[in-house]
Amino acid sequence: MAVVKANLGACQGYANCVVAADDYFDIDDDGVVELLSVEVPESERGRVDSAARSCPVSALWIED
């Protein structure tokens, strides 16, 4: 199954991903993304893709 990947060093805590998909992403106290769920079923692909693409510093992506 496709999985979400995050570059924790690049994350700047903008929280766009949380707004787009708060069942997959959260931001911790230090402003770094937390992955709440990693596996992306095909039915969720579009929504999680959108969330990843809303990251202003391209710290998120989906890998097959």
């Binding site: 929280a15 766009n16 949380v18 707004v19 931001i27 230090d30 402003g31 959108s50 693409r53 202003p56």
Partner: protein
């Protein structure tokens, strides 16, 4: 043979994200992405920060590579601005006379820097494109004193970048508190202090009457009678939507392409707009608005892609605005509508800044929050405004978050 063709005019963040979102939505037709500039699509926020400072390369801010375009089966056509549109015959005309036919059209031509009223002598810069940022950076090497006209986000970020590169910086704005436009006068003062502490000479409430000279020998006459000498000048006085090319198209254009709540051009079911060029019916604000915000463009791209790919499940664009600005070690983020005189400040404003300012509407609901260096408060604010919570309740929740943070520190030491 594809069943339909979507042409996207403009290859900055709004246009690129629309193309990507169309494929995510399973759109089976052809997609043509037209870019006015010759270079690969790139992201603009870093232009006044890491690109200007030299910390990032163009490759690092590329939004779409040729290979990625190929993978998504996008036809990327760069280097020719669109100059005309026929809605009846469904084609876009490019500067070289080429006509590009469409079934669906997405207007994503963005905005350009408001031109300098003092001409464009060598050494006077605006910052909007990568070429602008490169040209300014070339002059930084021979700049001791930089004068920035305009204390908005672009001017303030450029000031921060230049100070960190060791330049002397003077920031001029006709408003006494430039940031008051977006966050009220009292909070705006905090941002003035931020720049003053870093050594920026702020000349606010003072207009610019004249700019003479060129790189290395500028003389800038101010309305208080003083004159500033400068090696380089940056003019950051806002942006103008790139909608002129649509003047004779028959589309309704009024400081942006006028759209409905679906970001669809009024009277045209197959034409949409995203990003800085889109003036949309904003139900949250109760009127039409045009935003020059990165996140708004990205959210509109999702909406427009959905509305093209799945017209039976149309999505409305009802954003909670979100803008950020990075200045020195302050990450400043504004959610919703901030700036009313009633507000509550929570957190640590001085020393190591980490605070939020909450603003209510007239009914006592939370309408806006300005957050500095406090990621958890940002997340909480973005969710809360979308849900429409009470202002007082939200302020208490943030206050509790500062208390629990202090308790945690105490326990671990």
């Amino acid at each position: 043979m594809p069943e339909s063709t979507t042409v996207i005019v403009g290859a900055s963040i709004g246009g690129v994200r629309t193309a990507q979102a169309l494929r995510s939505e399973g759109y089976p037709g052809a997609i043509v992405l037209l870019g006015a500039e010759g270079e690969l699509p790139y992201d603009k926020p870093p232009l006044s920060k890491s690109i200007l400072a030299g910390g990032s390369t163009m490759a690092e801010i590329t939004l779409l590579t040729t290979e990625q375009a190929r993978e998504l089966d996008l036809e990327l056509r760069l280097g020719q601005p669109a100059v005309g549109l026929s809605t009846a015959n469904r084609y876009v005309e490019l500067a070289d006379g080429t006509r590009v036919a469409f079934d669906n059209l997405v207007l994503a031509t963005g905005a350009r820097a408001r031109p300098s009223p003092w001409g464009t002598p060598n050494g006077l810069h605006v910052i909007r494109t990568a070429a602008d940022a490169r040209a300014l950076r070339r002059h930084f090497g021979t700049t001791d004193h930089l004068v920035i006209i305009g204390g908005g986000f672009i001017g303030a970020e450029t000031a921060a970048t230049a100070v960190e590169l060791g330049m002397r910086v003077t920031l001029v704005d006709p408003e006494p508190v430039p940031m008051a436009r977006v966050m009220g006068a009292e909070i705006g003062e905090l941002f003035i202090d931020l720049h003053r502490r870093r050594g920026v000479d702020t000349r606010f409430g003072v207009g610019v009457e004249s700019v003479h000279g060129e790189h290395g020998s500028f003389a800038i006459g101010l309305s208080d009678g003083s004159t500033l000498a400068a090696d380089t000048v940056v003019v950051g006085i806002g942006a103008i939507p790139n909608d002129d090319w649509l003047e004779s198209s028959g589309l309704e254009v009024s400081n942006g392409v006028v759209c409905d709540v679906y970001c669809r051009a009024i009277g045209h079911d197959n034409i949409y707009a995203v990003g800085d060029v889109c003036r949309f019916d904003n139900t949250r604000r109760g009127g039409s608005t045009r935003f020059e915000h990165w996140t708004n463009a990205v959210e509109q791209a999702v909406v427009v892609a959905r509305n093209i790919a799945r017209p039976d499940e149309k999505m409305r664009h009802e954003p909670v605005e979100y803008v950020w600005s990075d200045q020195y070690d302050w990450k400043i983020q504004t959610v919703g509508l901030a700036g009313s005189s009633t507000h509550t400040v929570i957190g640590e404003v001085t020393n190591k800044a980490k605070f939020a300012v909450c603003y209510p509407d007239e009914k006592g609901r939370l309408t806006g929050v300005v957050v500095v260096n406090w990621p958890k408060a940002l997340v909480t604010a973005r969710k809360a405004i979308a849900l429409g919570v009470e202002y007082v309740e939200f302020a208490e929740r943030l206050e509790a978050m500062t208390v629990s943070a202090r308790t945690t520190v105490k326990e671990t030491t």
